[in-house]
Structures are given as C-alpha cells and as structure tokens.
C-alpha cells in the first residue's frame, strides 16, 4: 500500500504514528506552504505510483485562508480528475477563515460549505475522491487537546501527541477500509440482539423492541439493519430457539424489520458455526463476506474459534458500545451501485431458481425454461463503477484477479488500448444486473484477453461460453485474432480454470 501525504502542515510525526499501525505501508510526506497552488501546478504524473494521496490542508491551524473555499474545492476537483490514485481529502479546510472583507468580520463568518452544494456534488461524482472526517477528531478531543500552537509556529507541526495518535488511528482505519473487500451478509442472533429479553423465559409478549427505554436500543438496531438491507447487505438470522417462537414474534409484534427481510433463517439448536457455514454455502459466498452479531460471549468465541474469517461482533446493551458497533467499518460501503441496491431481490430470485431447478428433470430443460437474455455492451462508461467493483469482489470465475479502478478502466478506453465488454443478464425471474466482464487489449491485429470474469450468481447456466463466443465473433468482424489469454491461478479461481482449459485459440 503506497500512500502519499500532501499537506500545508508538517506531517512526518503523523506518518511515524501511522507506520506503527500499518507497518507494511509505504508512506511518504510532502509539505507545501501553499498546497493549493502546488496542486494546481503539479501534474498527476508526479504521484502516479501512489495508490492513495491524502490531501490535508489544515485551515484550523492556518486560520487565514488565502483562497475562498470554492477555489480550494475547485483545485482539488481538477487535481483528482487528472489523477489515477484514490484522493482522500481531509475536511479540515471547510471552516477556514478567509481574510476577505466580509468573511473576516465577527458575525459574518459562515460555513461556506453550505453554499457549495453544486460543487460538492460535482466532487462526489468523481469516483476517485473521498472525504476523510478530520473535523470529528477535533470535535472529539477539542482544540485545546489537539493543537500545540508553539510547535506549529516554530515547525509548522501543530499537533499534540494525543492528536497524532488519534489522527493516525483514524486515518489507518480509513485506508484499511478502502483496501479490504466489503462485507455482504449480516447474520444476527435474536434474543437480546434483535429484541430485549429471551423468548424462552419472557415469552413472546415479554420481549422488547419499542421506543421505550427498555426496547429502544433494539428498535434502533432493527432500523439500522433495515437501512443496511437497502444498501445491499443480505440479512440472515442465526438463533438458538424454536423456529415457530421466532416466527410468532415477527408475526405479532410491530417492529422495524419483518420476517421477509431475512433471506435465510437458521433457527434451531445446532452449533452456530454449522449454521453460519450453511448460510455461506446457500448464498454461494465465501465466509469472509459474513459479519456475525450476537450478545453472547460463548457463541461469539465459538464462532471466532471455528470460523476465524467471519467477522464476529458483540451486541452490547450498553448504549455507547452500541453506537460504536454501528459505526464499525464492516457496515460501510465504498461506493453504492444499482446492483447493491437490488441485492436482496437478486438473491430471492436466485432461491426461486434453485427451487425450479430441483423440479426440472434435466439441467438443460431448466436452463431452456429460464428464458435467459444477455445484453452485451462495449466500452460503456456507465458500467465502469460496477465493473471496477467486480474486479475486486469476484473470486471464483476470475482469470487473474487483477483489480482495476474506475479511472484505470476509463483511461484504458480513452487511450483506445482495447475493448471492454460488459454483460447484463436477465431471465424470467428477474434481473441479475451487470455480471460479466471481458477486457481485451490490442497489439496490432492481435488481441490479448486481459481478463475475463463472471459473478458467481450466474455460473452454471452456460452463459460464460455464450459471452466469450460473442466477443470472439465481434473481434473477428474487425479481423482481429485472439493471440493469448491471460490466466493466472489463484487459490479460489477453479471455475475460471475449468473454462480456461476449454478455450481453443
């Protein structure tokens, strides 16, 4: 992980603290008194090899801002649009005091951000720019504890040790979040997690999930999970209970979540790690995509011991631990795509298909009955966010696990290096969304298949060979011949290898 820190304060001590938390990272810092001028005059080439560029203009320390916030934001926007790195912008410039005649007067100083909505939207539309919440660190420990003005004055390094440690911790978490694949499934316990109390002891009427003080925590947690579902997380239940008792609670009680919101319910008396493994298998997902939440330390420890790749988190009825739990990065999305927003629907469609398959006499009959439709597009920039996400998330049918950022895909097409084919699939049960990608690179009349990947949701329907044949036909119309296919074995890509072996050039 290569990280460059660009700042108008000296960040070497920050970098040293970061190094303690993420020792594998290659960190470099640059100090520029007038960082914005530097950003305007520098070309993105200077930093082409950094995966991450952290831009930190500390206008809390430098009280007088030479430029209006609008100009600062414009500069960052134009820098990011030329850069191939992920640009992480500290929101420290937002409250800076400008020395303009109006802004500097008491009572006339306003948070300029409110007036820059159009600009903020424009910035957020770039896929390689994200904001780091520096302000919240200052709010948390306060100006007095955060700043050492004497050191700022003498060395342009205005932070106390306490601030450096916390700042580094938050920044490291943020970087790791962008480095780690997202979670996809939230598996929750019921008693003392989805509601207060235990069905077996308190009865169905005795458990609490309401807006009174004894039930509000659980009510809020259910609302939180409902939002996560809308963001594309799949919700599942894993509870040691009688199946009918849990069903009755959902049936009888007004709660934010309904029975149907959970795609898989494992309500029985078996060991939880067995149930959790089954959930992963039924969804055709790796265990590392799962988050497990329970209030019981025994259950948590057992799952952690048996399935250490599952992220196990404790549900604590102490309010401050509860808030900390919800802020955990495992519940956050890097970028939201249309596919994320339809995720539960897609998996429900898939369960319908599995049912139909088990009723069909042969796999061919089943496939024929699905009425599969393929929609293949070439160089369609609208698909690139999803395609980039696929290069990160897809493991099983992935020819070489090379990850492409949205910017890399865009510049690949812009520089006419080759064609990027994307595949959308639908059948009579519903829409799968964008599920396939083939990247081809030209060298004269020859073509190299740089990568081929398919989401595991559509495997086993012979779609991959139709998609591949289409691409070969399309290229041969331009008299282009496929010379090579780039395949690299990874621990997980057996399905891709099977297909690779069938390719005859």
């Amino acid at each position: 992980m290569k990280v460059k820190i660009l700042s108008n304060v000296v960040c070497d001590p920050l970098s040293a603290e970061l190094k303690k938390i993420i020792p594998f990272a290659k960190l470099s810092t640059e100090y520029h008194e007038d960082l914005i001028v530097k950003l305007n005059s520098s070309t993105s080439l200077h930093f082409a090899d950094s995966e991450y560029i952290f831009i930190h203009c500390d206008y809390y320390f430098h009280r007088v801002v030479p430029l209006m916030n609008r100009e600062v934001l414009e500069s960052i926007y134009s820098f990011a649009s030329k850069s191939k790195s992920l640009i992480i912008v500290s929101n420290s410039f937002i409250n800076g005091y400008s020395d303009g005649p109006v802004w500097g007067s008491p009572g006339k100083h306003l948070n300029v951000l409110f007036f820059e909505n159009d600009l903020i939207r424009k910035i957020l539309s770039l896929n390689n720019i994200v904001f780091f919440d520096y302000q919240s660190i200052i709010f948390e420990i306060g100006f007095k504890n955060a700043f050492n003005y004497n050191l700022g004055h003498l060395y342009q390094m205005p932070y106390t040790k306490k601030m450096l440690v916390l700042f580094a911790e938050r920044l490291a978490n943020f970087l790791l979040f962008y480095k780690t694949p997202e979670k996809k499934v939230i598996v929750v316990d019921c008693d003392n997690t989805l509601w207060g109390g235990v069905i077996g002891e308190d009865g169905i009427d005795g458990v609490k999930c309401n807006t009174n003080s004894d039930g509000i925590l659980y009510h809020q947690f259910q609302k939180f999970l409902r939002i996560k579902k809308e963001e594309g997380f799949l919700l599942c239940i894993c509870s040691k209970n009688n199946f009918n008792d849990v069903y009755e609670v959902f049936n009888k009680k007004e709660m934010p979540l309904r029975w149907e919101d959970f795609i898989i319910k494992k309500i029985n008396w078996r060991d939880k790690h067995v149930n959790i493994t089954e959930i992963a298998n039924e969804l055709n997902l790796g265990l590392e995509s799962l988050v497990f939440i329970d209030d019981n330390d025994f259950e948590l420890n057992a799952v952690m011991q048996m399935l250490n790749v599952v992220k196990s988190l404790k549900f604590d009825s102490d309010y401050s631990s509860f808030l900390t739990l919800m802020e955990n990065n495992v519940f956050k999305r890097k970028l939201l795509t249309t596919e994320d927003l339809q995720k539960t629907k897609q998996y429900e469609d898939e369960l319908l298909r599995k049912e139909e398959m088990s009723n069909s006499s042969s796999i061919d009959e089943y496939i024929a009955n699905l009425n599969i439709k393929l929609d293949i597009r070439k160089n369609d920039i609208n698909d690139f966010v999803r395609l980039s996400q696929m290069t990160e998330k897809t493991n099983q049918f992935n020819f070489n696990k090379k990850v492409y950022s949205v910017n890399e895909l865009s510049s690949f097409v812009r520089d006419c290096k080759g064609y990027i084919y994307s595949l959308k699939v639908s059948d009579k049960h519903g829409d799968y969304g964008t599920v396939g990608l083939i990247i081809t690179e030209f060298s004269g009349d020859d073509v190299v298949i740089e990568n081929f990947l398919m989401s595991c949701r559509v495997l086993g329907r012979r779609i991959e060979s139709s998609f591949f044949s289409f691409v070969i036909d399309d290229l041969s119309k331009e008299n282009k011949r496929i010379k090579d296919v780039r395949f690299i074995k990874t621990p997980k890509n057996n399905p891709a290898e099977e297909f690779f072996k069938t390719i005859k050039l």
Partner: protein, 76 residues
C-alpha cells in the same frame, strides 16, 4: 519539577526512534546524531505528552542540551 536522566531516557529513545540510544547530562544536540530539527520536534511532542508540561516558544528554541532541558523542567 525535578526529572531524572533515567526518566528522560525512554522519551529520548522514542522521539529519536532508537532503542539503543544512551544519554548523559553532558549530551547535547551535537553529540546525538538524531537530534536534528525533526528530532527536536518529536522530542518536544514526547516530553509534553509524558511529563504533562508545556514549553513556551522561547523554551523550545533554547533547549540544546540535556542540562538545559533539566534546568527548564526544574523551573516548571
């Protein structure tokens, strides 16, 4: 505040990122290679945090040896 050399040693070692460093009352910015301006900055950060003191701008600039540091700390 009276501070012993033995209390200062771990702070110097952290600030200069050198766990083998040794210091005496006679050590100064010339005798310790790591005690350059970035080292001095790190040292002040460590001292203020661990000894719960704060130095004025003049004090920060005037500390050039262990002896001077101990005198300033004693005046706090």
């Amino acid at each position: 505040m009276k501070v012993e050399i033995s209390e200062l040693l771990p702070l110097f070692r952290n600030a200069f990122n050198n766990q083998d460093l040794s210091i005496t009352e006679k050590s100064d910015r010339h005798s310790i290679a790591e005690w350059d301006s970035m080292g001095h900055l790190n040292l002040i950060v460590e001292l203020e945090d661990n000894l719960n003191v704060s130095f004025t701008k003049d004090e920060i600039e005037s500390i050039r040896s262990i002896k001077e540091l101990m005198e300033i700390l004693e005046s706090k």
